[in-house]
């Protein structure tokens, strides 16, 4: 049975253009359609990567699937239940920094735990700090951490809740190349260690090829699923040869990049 079932998702935002006229205000509405019938289904335990051109509606789709926004039409089922709001079963790591700057890293991570005895919490937080390589930084405030460290703390905060689904919206987009490679490796480990479904947005095709059991490619706005790829290559993956390199070329080609990169 599939964990997430998305059918015919459509979303348009109403753009308002006001024109002042004598003694009356004429409002001209114009629909800006972002999603145009997105359909996919993801089995439990999948690492699903979403790629697509900038501004095509990836974040919009995420906010809808995770329950923060309502679609114009279409349905999102999680475990067969319609999603009506953000739940405790799934946790989001948003595209923007989401750590609370008024809490320390440890306080941020502890936020994900429901009330249990304080020594338990401290121990568990310490474990998760170590998991993401931040031991010793629990007492630091987010602005005292580097960009990569903040992202890792945010991942730890999501993981500690032991979610069934983890949503990540370009979590490593703002990081430098080497850090991104390290985070990629960590994500592979995390996915193998925890039994969860991961929905992962990225604009980095290589990242998707390295991480995904599934790669769902969205078209330009109004976006639909342009290509749905299944991958079962073992990790770590070598993208320079074999069918993965051919796949990469094909993805670039379908995105309209005709130069062989």
């Amino acid at each position: 049975m599939s964990k997430i079932e998305v059918t015919g998702l459509r979303k348009s935002y109403v753009e308002r253009r006001r024109r002042k006229r004598f003694l009356s205000q004429c409002k001209q509405y114009e629909d800006c359609q972002v999603l145009d019938g997105i359909t996919f289904s993801i089995p439990a335990g999948t690492f699903a990567c979403f790629v697509g051109p900038s501004g095509c509606g990836k974040s919009t789709m995420f906010r809808i699937v995770s329950g923060f926004e309502r679609p114009s039409s279409g349905t999102v089922l999680i475990d067969g239940q319609e999603v009506t709001g953000p739940g405790s079963k799934h946790v989001c790591v948003f595209q923007e920094d989401g750590l609370f700057p008024w809490f320390t890293a440890a306080q941020n991570i502890a936020m994900g735990l429901s009330k249990s005895s304080s020594s338990d919490v401290a121990k568990k937080v310490e474990d998760y700090l170590e998991l993401v390589g931040l031991s010793g930084f629990g007492g630091h405030y987010p602005h005292e951490l580097s960009g990569g460290m903040r992202r890792r703390a945010e991942v730890a905060r999501a993981l500690i809740t032991n979610p069934e689904i983890l949503f990540m919206d370009e979590p490593f987009g703002a990081l430098d190349f080497v850090t991104r490679l390290q985070m990629r490796e960590e994500m592979v480990n995390v996915h193998q260690m925890f039994d969860m479904t991961i929905l992962f947005i990225t604009h980095d095709i290589d990242e998707a090829l390295q991480l995904g059991d599934r790669i769902i490619m969205l078209s330009d706005r109004p976006s639909r699923v342009a290509w749905d790829i299944r991958l079962d290559d073992p990790h770590p993956r070598d993208l320079s040869t074999g069918h993965l390199s051919r796949l990469r070329k094909e993805i670039y080609y379908r995105m309209g990049l005709h130069v062989a990169l």
């Binding site: 709001g85 953000p86 946790v91 948003f94 989401g98 609370f100 008024w102 936020m111 405030y141 602005h143």
Partner: protein
């Protein structure tokens, strides 16, 4: 730090010397613009006879009570209003209507309701702080980044916990700025109110000195008002040093 401190001290010294020089050179009469030395003498005189102390305490007492009452009511209310969109739409016109009415315009009513003494003054200070604080607090809640609210929702923050752990801390840097501005206004208003409504405080001291043509004492009173205002501002600024507020000053 040291450079800054010496810079400030030398600027003050320079101004004092220029003031003394100009007033002596042009033989400005004492009752038009008293010299720094006579102001200093007046300060010492009022310090030794306890008048300065008594009146400063009287003013501070009123400001403290009025201001705290406003803080204790306006901030929780403003936080709440920032989240209640319909209620805000209803109350906003009323608040914006009452806000531009100078607290001093309330003096006749205040005297009528509270009689003579500290109470009307405290009421005026309360009024002068209450409306701006509500407006500032509400708008700082509206300025909270959506991502933080989404995260809070995702982690199941609700009710009091949402307010204490997300809304208040997220709005706090802006609220502290609002407190600085409002306390400054309260201090402005108290002096004016005391000139009209009561028989003690720094405002009264100035009016009383003027009535006996003691301009040196008037200026001495002004100096003390400025100095206390500076101290009050610095006390509020201590809040900005809280570790959970520092983030707002680190722009990244």
């Amino acid at each position: 730090m040291a450079v800054k401190r010496y810079g400030v001290l030398s600027l003050i010294l320079l101004l004092l010397v220029a003031w003394q020089a100009v007033t002596s050179f042009f033989r400005v009469p004492e009752f038009v613009f008293p010299r720094p030395l006579s102001v200093a003498r007046a300060l010492l005189e009022m310090l030794s006879n306890g008048e300065l102390y008594r009146n400063s305490i009287a003013s501070l007492f009123r400001v403290t009570w009025g201001f705290y009452l406003a803080v204790a009511t306006a901030i929780p209310f403003g936080l709440f209003l920032g989240r209640q969109h319909q209620l805000r739409a209803i109350l906003n016109p009323l608040i914006q209507f009452l806000r531009p009415i100078s607290p001093l315009a309330w003096i006749p009513m205040a005297l009528m309701w509270f009689g003579i003494g500290d109470k009307p003054a405290i009421f005026l200070i309360f009024l002068s702080s209450f409306f701006p604080l509500i407006v500032f607090t509400t708008s700082s809640v509206l300025n909270i980044r959506t991502t933080y609210l989404r995260v809070a929702e995702n982690f199941g923050f609700k009710g009091l916990r949402l307010y204490m752990r997300v809304i208040l801390p997220a709005a706090l840097p802006d609220i502290i700025t609002a407190l600085r501005i409002t306390l400054g206004t309260a201090w402005l208003v108290i002096v004016a109110a005391e000139m009209i409504a009561v028989k003690s405080g720094l405002g009264y001291l100035i009016i009383d000195a003027r009535n006996s043509l003691r301009m040196d004492m008037v200026v001495a009173g002004m100096v003390v008002i400025g100095a206390i205002g500076l101290v009050l501002d610095n006390i509020i600024r201590l809040l900005e040093r809280m570790p959970s507020v520092e983030w707002s000053r680190v722009r990244r």
